[in-house]
């Protein structure tokens, strides 16, 4: 199982985390108390031009010294502090949550159109692959992931997420089935501007993982969802594809549907399936992905996991359950179920 809910205010009006906590807690039965998490965009206006790097440290000695060194080698630490946490009886503190506000040196990377992002991506991969006792779980600008092993309400209260205000929120309640529950395995998964929450399983994980690893990503979180964040970064950022097209690559139409498309569209989809065959995701899934520009929700082509959408003026909600949306927004105006595999997109209006 697993429960997901996401919201965007398209006018970028910021909401605190209290209502999404209530909504996710309504879906407690979709999880097992072994992982819950939240991500919010727009929460660090005081450091709006810095990468907010959230790290789980096992201790603040060797792992933190190594991470400090790597960061200082690649850029400048503008500010750093422990992420405030508040003890909860039902949650065991397994790691120290730390955050850096970081500006990469622009002149350290060549052969790329966005050196800052590639710089930060590389140091995230370096830390997560090579520094024992440190795990970067959030690395975007003006956004932050807060997650741990525990029930939705305990994790929310542990980080006191009502103290943060964002215009996009995603939340996830985990029921680990194929891999163990641990802090790094809780959702959302994030890399740079991409955050992912996922209900289901990616049975094509092996193929997808080999594909992204061939492009310089390293899977270190011991669970399948991580690869979705890297697929979005590779296709969406580095290949420059719009979100609708990324979804078409990851959850493409069936061949018999492609056969019936008009010629031009058919040729495009054939090329897409052949080019991105290794990015195609198999298995049951409902996924919501966020970037600073918006959110996109989609399911597998035969709809093996639930997804429901609600709208109220500038706000778009995507969730596993209608009641969760109504908990966040009792005045929600329309509720509908999107077709399997078809992306639901909420974009920021500039």
């Amino acid at each position: 199982m697993c429960g997901i809910i996401g919201v965007i205010d398209r006018t970028m009006a910021r909401m605190d985390g209290s209502s999404i906590k209530e909504a996710l807690s309504l879906m407690d039965e979709r999880g097992s108390g072994e992982g819950a998490g939240y991500v919010a965009y727009g929460i660090y206006p005081d450091y709006a031009d810095c990468y907010a790097i959230h790290v789980f440290f096992d201790n603040l000695l060797e792992p933190k010294t190594r991470v400090d060194e790597i960061l200082k080698q690649w850029g400048k630490i503008i500010h750093q502090e422990e992420i405030p946490t508040y003890e909860q009886p039902g949650l065991k503190k397994e790691h120290i949550s730390w955050r850096y506000f970081f500006k990469p040196f622009a002149d350290q990377k060549v052969g790329t159109t966005n050196p800052d992002d590639d710089n930060v991506k590389q140091l995230v991969m370096d830390i997560n692959g090579n520094v024992e006792g440190a795990l970067v779980f959030s690395s975007g600008i003006n956004l932050g992931v807060f997650k741990a092993s525990g029930w939705p309400e305990d994790v929310a209260n542990f980080f006191r997420i009502e103290d943060y205000k964002g215009y996009i929120w995603l939340a996830h309640n985990r029921y680990p089935t194929n891999t163990a529950g641990w802090w790094g395995g809780a959702h959302p998964f994030n890399l740079l501007d991409w955050s992912v929450v996922h209900n289901g399983e990616i049975t094509s994980y092996g193929t997808n993982r080999r594909y992204v690893e061939g492009h310089g990503y390293q899977c270190t979180m011991l669970t399948d969802t991580e690869v979705v964040a890297y697929l979005f970064d590779l296709l969406g950022r580095r290949h420059g594809m719009p979100p609708e097209m990324v979804v078409e690559a990851l959850a493409p139409p069936f061949w018999d549907v492609i056969d019936q498309m008009p010629e031009k569209e058919e040729e495009f989809m054939r090329t897409m399936r052949l080019t991105y065959g290794s990015a195609l995701m198999n298995g049951p899934f409902a996924i919501v992905v966020a970037t600073k520009d918006g959110i996109v929700g989609f399911t597998d082509r035969i709809k093996l996991r639930p997804l429901i959408v609600g709208e109220n003026g500038p706000r778009l909600y995507i969730s596993s359950e209608e009641a969760a949306i109504r908990t966040m927004d009792p005045d929600v105006e329309s509720i509908y179920m999107p077709r399997a595999g078809e992306p639901v997109i909420g974009r920021v209006i500039e």
Partner: protein, 247 residues
């Protein structure tokens, strides 16, 4: 007549709620009204008797699971799998419902005024006198009647032309029948399903159901009492005989 038991369930967890319902029905209460329902799962789960439960709001998943006898009338939408393995009684939903409506249902009726999600009527079954009914006023998403083994699914498609336009209708069906208003494109039929003519005899047989459904939702049944339906049934007596075993 006795006063109904009215419960404001705002913020209440489903466990104490369902305990209250079960105790009330066991003690002879015939009418229960639940107000401010939002996301409470398993309402009416396993309840036996002939009570009427009115649900104002959006109940959580598996409404009326294993229920045997009562009627639940919902003024709102329902989530996944209302009528899951239901045995007897009825669910009347004045709204739409999520995926896997009437999952493994074995008896009774599920009426949905609006639309249903994917896999409605999956694995419905029948045995001797028990014949479950799933009737839908609007439309259905894909895999309607998947692995269906018995019972009736009726889709009126009100406001939808065609009534159903999602694939995989009756995918893996080996019993029961799916009746859909108007024609159904052959390419939407699932593996093991075949479309046959809806005859005058079928109309005589199903008229009481059409009239009852329309009556519950204040719809004029007259326009629906003709033979403009498609009937989808298993392609043969044992369509998958050779798939998993040898004869």
């Amino acid at each position: 007549m006795a006063e109904p038991l009215v419960i404001d369930v705002k913020g209440m967890h489903y466990s104490p709620l369902n305990k209250m319902i079960r105790e009330a029905v066991a003690s002879g209460v015939k009418e229960i009204v639940l107000n401010n329902v939002l996301g409470q799962r398993f309402i009416g789960n396993g309840v036996r008797g002939d009570a009427k439960i009115t649900i104002n709001g959006v109940p959580g998943g598996d409404l009326g699971m294993f229920m045997s006898g009562p009627e639940c009338e919902v003024f709102g939408n329902a989530e996944h799998a209302p009528g899951n393995t239901m045995d007897r009684g009825s669910l009347i939903i004045h709204g739409s419902a999520g995926d896997a409506v009437a999952h493994s249902m074995r008896g009774g009726k599920v009426f949905v005024e609006g639309n249903i999600g994917y896999r409605g009527g999956i694995h419905m079954k029948e045995y001797e006198g028990k014949r479950p009914i799933l009737a839908i006023g609007g439309t259905s998403h894909a895999f309607l009647g998947e692995y269906m083994a018995g019972g009736i699914i009726l889709v009126l498609g009100i406001g939808h032309e065609p009534a159903v336009e999602d694939r995989g209708i009756g995918s893996g069906i080996h019993g029961g029948e799916i009746v859909i208003r108007g024609d159904v494109d052959d390419k939407l039929l699932g593996v093991g399903a075949k479309k046959v003519e809806f005859t005058d005899d079928d109309l005589v047989r199903l008229s009481p159901l059409i009239e009852e459904f329309c009556g519950r939702f204040d719809i004029d049944p007259t326009p629906f009492l003709d033979t403009n339906y498609s009937r989808i049934i298993p392609a043969s007596a044992r369509p998958f005989a050779g798939k998993y075993t040898w004869e």
